[in-house]
């Protein structure tokens, strides 16, 4: 009898059964699905790097690539924060707690946490982009002595779409310095208004020479964030971003997720900015 890992290595199309243990509504249109692998042993043995993703599978509907937004050390489940946008995620949003789905993963390259040792870490997120960064924040806050200061710069369209509000307060109590900004202010909003790169332009309390930056958000936001970061003196090789492309196989076999020389599914989704700099500004690549 093959072990589970060997069977998956043998055939990358093999999905594992997972069950929705809980659903936490986040911001409008977005919810976190707390998943438990049906096989208890596999659930316990599952492990991932912050920034990696799973292929979630609804039989008859299809698969979708979703980054893990928290590991089992948080709430005992493997969590995915998802916006109901495409056909799979919309169908997922209809599923009740206890429903089953398939899961393949984890795949891809995650955030380079080891590179953060002794450095100020600036986490920059736009909208739902905070989800793939959340496990990295959890890992950073779990060992605060290993790094310098930790900043979170978070932007969203409106105040009510700023992700994980309650948890962000807890992060701040643990020493993370958070700033938020919105594109459109409502009358009760007293914070920053404007795009995220403006927060990078104004950021104080970090040493550019020893800072590292993780970015995830809409591609245009990431492009401008990189520009701002470079202007602030952060070296391109210490700016990392998570990219999104159409994903079908997640294991480098189907060709969908090409981005210049990179396969987003294997070389990414987290990529070092200098390695893809020539391609990031090219329209329609």
């Amino acid at each position: 009898m093959k072990t589970a890992a060997a069977a998956i290595a043998d055939n990358p199309w093999l999905a594992q059964r997972a069950r929705i243990a809980r659903v936490t509504p986040e911001v409008p249109g977005v919810a976190t699905y707390h998943l438990r692998l049906v096989d208890a042993q596999r659930h316990a043995q599952y492990a991932f790097q912050p920034g990696q993703f799973n292929m979630l599978y609804l039989p008859g509907v299809g698969e979708v690539a979703i980054s893990l937004s928290a590991g089992a050390e948080q709430q005992g489940t493997w969590d995915h924060t998802i916006r109901a946008a495409g056909s799979v995620t919309r169908a997922l949003a209809q599923l009740p707690v206890g429903a089953e789905l398939g899961l393949r993963g984890p795949y891809g390259a995650g955030w380079p946490l080891t590179e953060c040792a002794g450095r100020d870490v600036i986490v920059v997120a736009g909208g739902l982009g905070l989800a793939p960064l959340r496990p990295a924040i959890h890992a950073l806050l779990a060992e605060p002595k290993r790094w310098g200061r930790i900043h979170l710069l978070l932007g969203a369209r409106t105040a009510d779409s700023l992700l994980y509000p309650g948890e962000r307060s807890a992060w701040e109590r643990s020493g993370l310095a958070a700033q938020t900004t919105v594109d459109r202010a409502t009358p009760d909003w007293t914070g920053n208004v404007g795009v995220v790169p403006l927060l990078v332009d104004r950021l104080a309390g970090f040493d550019p020479a020893r800072a590292i930056m993780f970015i995830c958000g809409p591609e245009v936001m990431m492009r401008y964030t990189i520009r701002s970061a470079l202007k602030r003196g952060i070296a391109a090789e210490r700016i990392w971003l998570s990219l999104e492309r159409n994903m079908q196989c997640a294991v480098g076999l189907c060709g969908h997720c090409q981005f210049g020389p990179a396969f987003i599914c294997q070389d990414g989704p987290v990529l070092r900015s200098d390695r893809i700099a020539p391609f990031l500004d090219v329209e329609g690549l």
Binding site: G60, V61, G62, S87, R90, A91, Q94
Partner: protein, 267 residues
């Protein structure tokens, strides 16, 4: 369990061939009937129930003043409106009248033209009401229809490829008739769906499924016409078909200033 979704099938100017696809789903029809309540389908049953309907399949184009009123009502009654076939999605072969003088056609065909109430044009359903999904083809493919129904039952978007016929030729191993035999073929600009039947019988595709996504008609007609390889009449014929009034094909016709179908060729 909640009641089955209510399905209605409507016909406008058309030959009925597309709605018959539903009946020709022989093996699957019973399952379809189990999961959908077919409450209006004149071709199959005299049972006629008023709206609202969950799914309306609409065949045919709009050619009469009565059609205009009726399609509005269908739209009001239908939660999800799917147009089926080239008539409903592009105006059909009868849209060739759009290039001619419809009054003259009426005089030529009917003994008493004044009895006929007809519009000057044949237009697709989407020219009049919002359409939720278009199923292409002349006639439609029954398995594509099944996919649409399955998708609606599962609460997802239908998955139907928008690629060219060429891809399907290659998947089934058919040799390109353009390259190997010099046969004029609309495959490179035609929407997949038929399974690439004609080229597998050494015939060129004549575009039953209408233009594919982002078709490059100008390049294809230039290639067909290069060195007189394909006579202009053939290009006109290829254009003057069930999908001739589809926006992309119409635009290319206008660009080439092709003579109206039935009219005298240039030069």
């Amino acid at each position: 369990m909640a009641a089955c979704p209510r399905l209605a099938v409507f016909k406008f100017a058309s030959c009925d061939g597309c709605q018959l696809s539903l009946l020709s789903l022989e093996d699957e029809l019973l399952t379809v009937a189990d999961r959908l309540d077919i409450v209006y389908f004149l071709e199959a049953t005299s049972r006629v129930e008023p709206g609202p309907y969950d799914i309306a399949l609409v065949e045919g184009s709009i050619t009469t003043p009565d059609d205009l009123a009726r399609i509005e009502q269908v739209r009001r009654d239908a939660k999800y409106l799917v147009t089926i076939g080239a008539c409903a999605t592009a105006g059909g072969i009868q849209a060739l009248r759009n290039w001619g003088d419809s009054a003259e056609f009426l005089r030529a065909v009917y003994a008493t033209p004044s009895y006929i109430e007809s519009l000057a044009t044949s237009t697709p359903i989407s020219a009049h009401v919002r359409v939720d999904f278009e199923l292409r083809g002349c006639p439609i493919d029954k398995y594509q229809l099944l996919e649409v129904l399955q998708a609606l039952l599962a609460g997802r978007r239908p998955r139907l490829p928008a690629h060219s016929v060429c891809l399907d030729c290659k998947r089934r191993g058919t040799v390109c008739v353009v390259v190997a035999q010099g046969v004029p073929c609309l495959g490179p600009v035609t929407h997949a769906g038929c399974g690439a039947i004609c080229p597998s019988y050494d015939r060129g595709c004549y575009g039953c499924y209408g233009p594919c996504a982002q078709p490059n008609l100008a390049s294809l007609t230039a290639q067909l016409g290069a060195n007189g390889a394909t006579p202009r009449e053939t290009i006109v014929q290829l254009r003057s078909s069930f999908n001739g009034y589809a926006a992309e094909i119409r635009a290319e016709s206008d660009r080439l200033e092709l003579p109206p179908p039935g009219g005298a060729p240039h030069g």
